[in-house]
């Protein structure tokens, strides 16, 4: 692959007062890839996205977006980026069509009317074109926001928790759209809290308290964590979580329905830890989930959002 990365940032750092919100983050995303950006609340995901799209100026670090220098070419970058904010950022007192028209004007798109009509059609908004944006439900607002972010055909799409508060069907459709866009060559960087969404990404990046903790494909991240897991089935297995979690060698134990999911860094120690219950509960080896990995990573990270207060 000789292609240049769509996003390439190194040592990106942002401080708000005494608090370092983003601490030397490196991130590379190749064209046409969907990169999931994960991390707990307040971990610096939004701040990183804002730095990449030029809404915030980094305190340190450098990078290129589409080959354009982040520190000197912010305006040129803005033309080629679509950014969907975490909070609905369109005008609630304008209709769907009017909002898109405004965006089309701002980007000076040619064939404005046709472009708006095409975008409405493409995202299934045509029937609601004249509804006020403020009166839409969460799923429709999200569709509109996506439409507004992609209408000017950006090369990079930045999505900040796009599916918060959206029902499963709308989420599924949303992700189908994202994959369709990526297939056309758009690079997508999407922040999310949802593990199932992370699994839909080509690759993921995990950030906690401003520090990048893991990067790669899902397989790579899980393998890189060094965790192994056991699945326990048996009477009242799910009730044992708190007890088992106290045992040495157990990183975490969580009930899943009637079964119990246990994981830890060392498979032998893990097996030994569940031994006392082995007579009535059948423990079988299992794949550690992405969630296991993230919670494990998060517990290991220092929470710098507290010390700032």
């Amino acid at each position: 692959m000789s292609k240049a990365p769509a996003i390439s940032v190194r040592g990106l750092t942002k401080r708000f007062g005494p608090r370092t919100v983003v601490d030397h983050v490196d991130l590379t995303v190749m064209p046409g890839r969907i990169c999931g950006f994960l991390g707990p609340n307040g971990s610096g995901k939004t701040t990183t996205l804002r730095m990449i799209c030029g809404l915030l100026i980094p305190d340190a670090g450098e990078g290129e977006v589409l080959g354009l220098d982040l520190s000197t070419k912010r305006r040129a970058i803005k033309h080629q980026i679509g950014y969907m904010t975490q909070k609905f950022g369109l005008f609630s007192d304008l209709s769907i069509a009017e909002n898109l028209e405004f965006i089309a004007r701002v980007y000076r798109l040619d064939r404005r009317k046709e472009r708006v009509a095409e975008t409405l059609e493409k995202l299934g908004l045509t029937s609601r074109a004249d509804q006020l944006a403020g009166k839409l439900s969460g799923g429709w607002k999200q569709r509109l926001a996506l439409a507004a972010a992609v209408m000017h055909e950006p090369k990079i799409l930045l999505l900040d928790e796009p599916t918060a508060g959206v029902d499963p069907q709308a989420r599924r459709e949303f992700w189908d759209q994202i994959h369709a866009l990526a297939a056309e060559g758009m690079t997508v960087l999407v922040s999310t809290h949802y593990m199932d969404e992370a699994e839909r990404c080509h690759e993921i990046a995990y950030i906690a308290y401003g520090v990048m903790l893991a990067r790669g494909t899902i397989g790579e991240v899980i393998a890189g964590s060094g965790l192994s897991a056991l699945q326990g089935e048996g009477p009242s297995a799910d009730r044992l979580a708190a007890e088992i979690e106290q045992r040495p060698g157990v990183a975490m134990a969580a009930p899943f329905g009637t079964s119990l999911h246990v994981c830890g860094p060392d498979p032998v120690a893990l097996r030994a830890a569940v031994e006392p219950w082995a007579d009535r509960i059948n423990f079988t080896p299992a794949e550690p989930s992405l969630e296991d990995v993230f919670i494990h990573l998060m517990r290991g990270a220092t929470d710098n959002s507290v010390e700032a207060r």
């Binding site: 708000f16 030029g54 809404l55 904010t85 950022g89 405004f102 507004a148």
Partner: protein, 373 residues
């Protein structure tokens, strides 16, 4: 650039049109204000207690007193005796005005010596002084015009036959409805331009739309101009409404040049818009911007010379008033509308407004950034 500004303007106008409260404010606000200030508050005060101390029991003084009565401005009490008597009545608040006619008034009037009449005013309520003084002047002149006949007719030519002296407080810009209505231009423009602009910009930040706007190729200055133009036009509509009402309903004389008035109004509108924008860069929510606007509007109403005469204020308040754009604009409007000021006369006050525009504009542009936080 122009297309993006156009996009902003178009969006703003659409949003305005969709927001009935803005429309209501645009049309009814000036009218309500005009009615309240024009009729209710500054209606010429009547039935002012006046004590006449006629020390000269001549036909002239009797005729002056009866002329004063017919003006309808005064409830007249006549006292005889010393000057101290009238003074005491004023001190006790039983009279607001005292007219003292000296003992040799008739004799000196006949001789053509321009005798003095002393009008003492209680200046604690300066607003009513102006019209009352004018009424006294008129009544006296009218009475004398009727009485100075025959051999005395010659006294009516040349300088006025008497010399009316006003004691205690003289208020050359005494507030009449003619003076207030032009002042309203300043207040109404301040309210809409400062409050609406700052709130409309803050709304974008508060509702999260600013982040979206700034992620697009829109430049800060484009957002600014796009926001300002519609409010500027709105201000023009308001100026037309107020001026129309002032001239047609309140019959305010307009002796100066309309072009010059519009020019200084343009300047004042720009200053107000720049101020509104500056406020929006300093506050975080619409409520805060509302409070900040009120903080500006209250002194503007009270200190600018709109509600109370500028010269009736202590020096520190006058300095404060000097810092308020409406103070200068009100002077300009009164000067142009009522005194017929021409080009060089408007320079000092306009100069101060230009200076304010430069300062506020610089602050607004420097503080308004294309990044969030």
């Amino acid at each position: 650039m122009w297309e993006r500004i156009g996009a902003m303007i178009f969006k703003e106008v659409r949003q305005m049109a969709r927001d009935p409260s803005t429309i209501a404010m645009m049309f009814f606000f000036p009218i309500i204000q005009l009615v309240i200030f024009g009729y209710a508050i500054n209606n010429d005060p009547r039935h002012l207690p006046l004590v006449v101390e006629a020390n000269d029991n001549s036909a002239f003084s009797r005729s002056i007193v009866s002329a004063l009565r017919t003006t309808g401005y005064f409830d007249i009490t006549e006292v005889a005796g010393s000057y101290g008597e009238a003074d005491r009545l004023i001190a006790e608040g039983k009279a607001q005005f005292a007219l003292t006619i000296p003992t040799d008034f008739a004799r000196r009037l006949v001789r053509g010596e321009r005798p003095q009449l002393l009008l003492t005013a209680d200046a604690t309520d300066p607003a009513s002084t102006g019209p009352a003084v004018a009424a006294v002047n008129e009544a006296v002149a009218e009475a004398l015009a009727r009485d100075l006949i025959g051999p005395l007719a010659g006294r009516q030519q040349g300088p006025p036959p008497i010399d009316l002296v006003l004691h205690r407080s003289y208020n050359p810009e005494g507030i009449t409805s003619h003076n207030t209505v032009p002042g309203l231009l300043a207040i109404i423009l301040s309210m809409t331009m400062v409050a609406l602009t700052s709130m409309s910009v803050t709304r974008e930040t508060e509702q999260g739309t600013m982040e979206n706007l700034l992620a697009t190729p829109l430049r800060p200055v484009e957002v600014m101009v796009g926001k300002i133009v519609p409010y500027f036009l709105l201000g023009f509509v308001q100026v037309c409404v107020v001026l129309g009402f002032a001239i047609v309903v309140f019959e305010v004389p307009f002796v100066g040049s309309l072009g010059l008035l519009l020019a200084v109004t343009l300047l004042f509108t720009l200053v107000s818009l720049a101020l509104g924008f500056t406020i929006s860069t300093l506050v975080e929510s619409q409520v805060q911007s509302m409070m900040a606007s009120m903080l500006y509007l209250m002194p503007s109403i009270l200190l600018s010379g709109f509600a109370f005469p500028y010269r009736g204020m202590p020096v520190w308040a006058q300095w404060l008033a000097e810092l308020l754009p409406p103070t200068h604009y009100i002077r300009l409007v009164r000067g142009i509308m009522l005194k017929g000021w021409e080009w060089p006369l408007v320079l000092p006050e306009s100069g101060k407004l230009v200076l304010m525009l430069l300062v506020l504009g610089t602050i607004a542009v420097r503080r308004y950034r294309d990044t969030v936080a």
